[in-house]
C-alpha cells in the first residue's frame, strides 16, 4: 500500500531537529533510515502526522573513540558500522553481529539509532548493546540524559524515550585484553530477522572466566541479558562441561516469543545450541 499523508520537515541541524521534535513530539516521528518506519507506514500500521527527516543533520553519523568508549552517532548506517575498523577493534561483538543485520540495500540506509529506537525484539543490536553495557545518549530541546542499554529497552517496540526525545549517540566501553566476543544466530536466510540470536562476551584471566555477558535476540523483549546463566559461568574454566551446563541454563532462562517460523519450544532449543557455539567461540577468541 501507499503511506498515509504527512507533513515533511527537514532540519539542517541538531537544534532544529530537537525544536521540531518539541513542536511535533506527540504526533510526529523521526525519519532516519526509514527501513522500519516506512514499511510500517506503507502497511498503515502507523500514521505519523509529521516526519522529521534527520538524514541531513550534520555530525550525527560519526564513529569515534572518546576516552574509554566507542562513540557511535545515531545516524551511523549499518553498512558503515559493518565496515568500520574501529568497530571491529573496539566492539568485536557488534562487528560479528552486524553480518546478520539485513541485506546490502537495507544496511545502506538503516541506522543504529533508528534500529534501537524501533526496538524490534528480533533485532541483533539491542542484544549486543545490552551485553556490552552500552549507554544511550538521548536529547530533547530542554535536556540531555544517558540511559543504560538494559533500561532503554522496555518491551517489544517500546523504549524509555519520552515525548520530544531522540537518540543522539550510543557509547560502548572499549573491548579489553582477555575479552572474547561471538554472535551466533539462526534465521531463515542470512539477513532475515533472527528466529534466535545469542551474543556472548567473556573475559578470561588465569584460565578462569572473570566476567560473562549474554544478550539474546528473537525473544519476547529486546535487549535481554541472561544474568542467571552469566553468574554460573564466572569462575569456571569455560570448558566443555561448563559451557554445556550454561547452554542448558540459557535454554531455561530465556522468555521466547512465538513467531511464524519458530515456536517457543524450538526457540529454546536454538538458544541452547547457539549459546554453546557462541560461548566456545568467545572463549577461543579471548585467548
Amino acid at each position: 500500500m501507499k503511506p498515509p499523508p504527512f507533513e515533511y520537515v527537514r532540519p539542517g541541524s541538531l537544534p532544529e531537529a530537537l525544536d521540531a521534535l518539541a513542536r511535533h513530539g506527540a504526533t510526529g516521528r523521526i525519519l532516519a533510515g526509514g527501513q522500519s518506519l516506512v514499511p510500517m507506514m506503507n502497511l498503515r500500521l502507523v500514521k505519523p502526522a509529521v516526519l522529521i527527516d534527520i538524514n541531513r543533520v550534520p555530525g550525527l553519523a560519526e564513529i569515534r573513540v572518546d576516552g574509554g568508549e566507542l562513540v557511535i552517532g545515531a545516524l551511523a548506517r549499518h553498512a558503515a558500522l559493518l565496515g568500520s575498523a574501529l568497530v571491529r577493534k573496539h566492539c568485536p561483538l557488534m562487528a560479528d553481529a552486524y553480518r546478520w543485520v539485513g541485506h546490502g540495500p537495507i544496511r545502506n540506509r538503516g541506522t543504529l539509532g533508528g534500529n534501537i529506537s524501533h526496538a524490534d525484539p528480533a533485532s541483533e543490536m539491542p542484544a549486543v548493546l545490552a551485553a556490552c553495557d552500552a549507554t544511550i545518549g538521548v536529547r530533547s530541546a530542554k535536556q540531555s540524559r544517558t540511559i543504560p542499554a538494559a533500561g532503554f529497552f522496555t518491551g517489544a517496540l517500546a523504549t524509555a524515550l519520552a515525548e520530544g526525545e531522540m537518540v543522539t549517540e550510543i557509547r560502548v566501553p572499549l573491548a579489553q585484553p582477555g575479552q572474547g566476543a561471538a554472535w551466533e544466530e539462526a534465521a531463515n536466510r542470512k539477513g532475515d530477522f533472527a528466529m534466535a540470536g545469542v551474543g556472548v562476551l567473556v573475559t578470561v584471566a588465569g584460565g578462569k572466566c572473570t566476567h560473562a555477558a549474554i544478550g539474546v535476540a528473537g525473544m519476547a523483549k529486546p535487549g535481554t541479558r541472561l544474568s542467571a546463566t552469566e553468574k554460573r559461568l564466572v569462575g569456571t574454566a569455560l570448558d566443555a562441561a561448563a559451557i554445556a551446563a550454561a547452554a542448558r541454563a540459557a535454554r531455561e532462562e530465556v522468555r521466547p516469543s512465538t513467531s511464524y517460523h519458530a515456536d517457543a519450544t524450538y526457540k529454546r532449543e536454538l538458544v541452547e545450541t547457539l549459546a554453546a557455539r557462541a560461548l566456545a567461540a568467545a572463549r577461543d577468541r579471548a585467548r
Binding site: K2, F6, Y8, G34, P39, N42, H103, R109, K190
Partner: protein
C-alpha cells in the same frame, strides 16, 4: 498536503517536479517521470524489485520518499543501455538466461551494478550475498549468479 518542489537527476537528466511528501521514490520514477523499469513488488522493503541507486548506493525506492532524493543523483535500470546498446550486465543476463518472468530483473541488475562498481572481480560468494537481498521466484538464482559472473567477464573484455 502542500506540494514540495524537488529537483532530482535521474540517469543523467535533471527533473524539477513538485511532489506530495508521501510520494514514494518508486512511484515518482514510474508515475511522475514515466520511467517504468523500476518495478514495485512488496512495498515494504523485502523483495527488492524496486531497488535503484541513490548517490551510488543501492536502496529500496519503496522505502524512500521522493522528497528525500531532492538534489540527488538517481540511477535506474532504464539508464543501463546506452544508445540502444545493452550494457554488459544486460547482455550477460540475456546470454545466461538470468531472467524468466523478468519482474525482479531490474532490481537484480541495480544490486549487481552497485556490487560491480565497488568490486570489479567479486567472488561467487560475494555475488550470492549481494543478490540474496532480492527475491526471485522463477530462476532459483543459479542463472542470475552466472549472469553476474558473465558480466564480470564481459566488462574485463571490454576494458582491454
Amino acid at each position: 498536503m502542500a506540494l514540495i518542489p524537488i529537483n532530482v537527476t535521474v540517469n543523467g537528466t535533471r527533473f524539477e517536479r513538485a511532489v506530495e511528501p508521501r510520494r514514494l521514490l518508486a512511484d515518482f520514477l514510474r508515475e511522475d517521470l514515466d520511467l517504468k523499469a523500476t518495478h514495485i513488488g512488496c512495498e515494504h522493503g523485502v523483495c527488492g524489485a524496486c531497488t535503484v541507486l541513490v548517490a551510488g548506493e543501492a536502496v529500496r525506492s519503496c522505502l524512500t520518499f521522493a522528497v528525500q532524493a531532492d538534489g540527488c543523483e538517481v540511477r535506474t535500470a532504464d539508464g543501463l543501455a546506452q544508445a540502444g546498446k545493452l550494457s554488459p550486465l544486460q547482455q550477460a543476463f540475456w546470454e545466461k538466461h538470468g531472467l524468466q518472468c523478468g519482474y525482479c530483473t531490474s532490481g537484480m541488475m541495480m544490486v549487481a551494478s552497485e556490487l560491480l562498481e565497488r568490486n570489479a572481480r567479486p567472488t561467487k560468494a560475494e555475488i550470492e550475498e549481494a543478490v540474496s537481498s532480492n527475491l526471485c521466484r522463477c530462476t532459483g538464482y543459479y542463472n542470475i549468479v552466472e549472469s553476474v559472473q558473465r558480466a564480470v567477464e564481459l566488462m574485463q573484455e571490454g576494458a582491454k
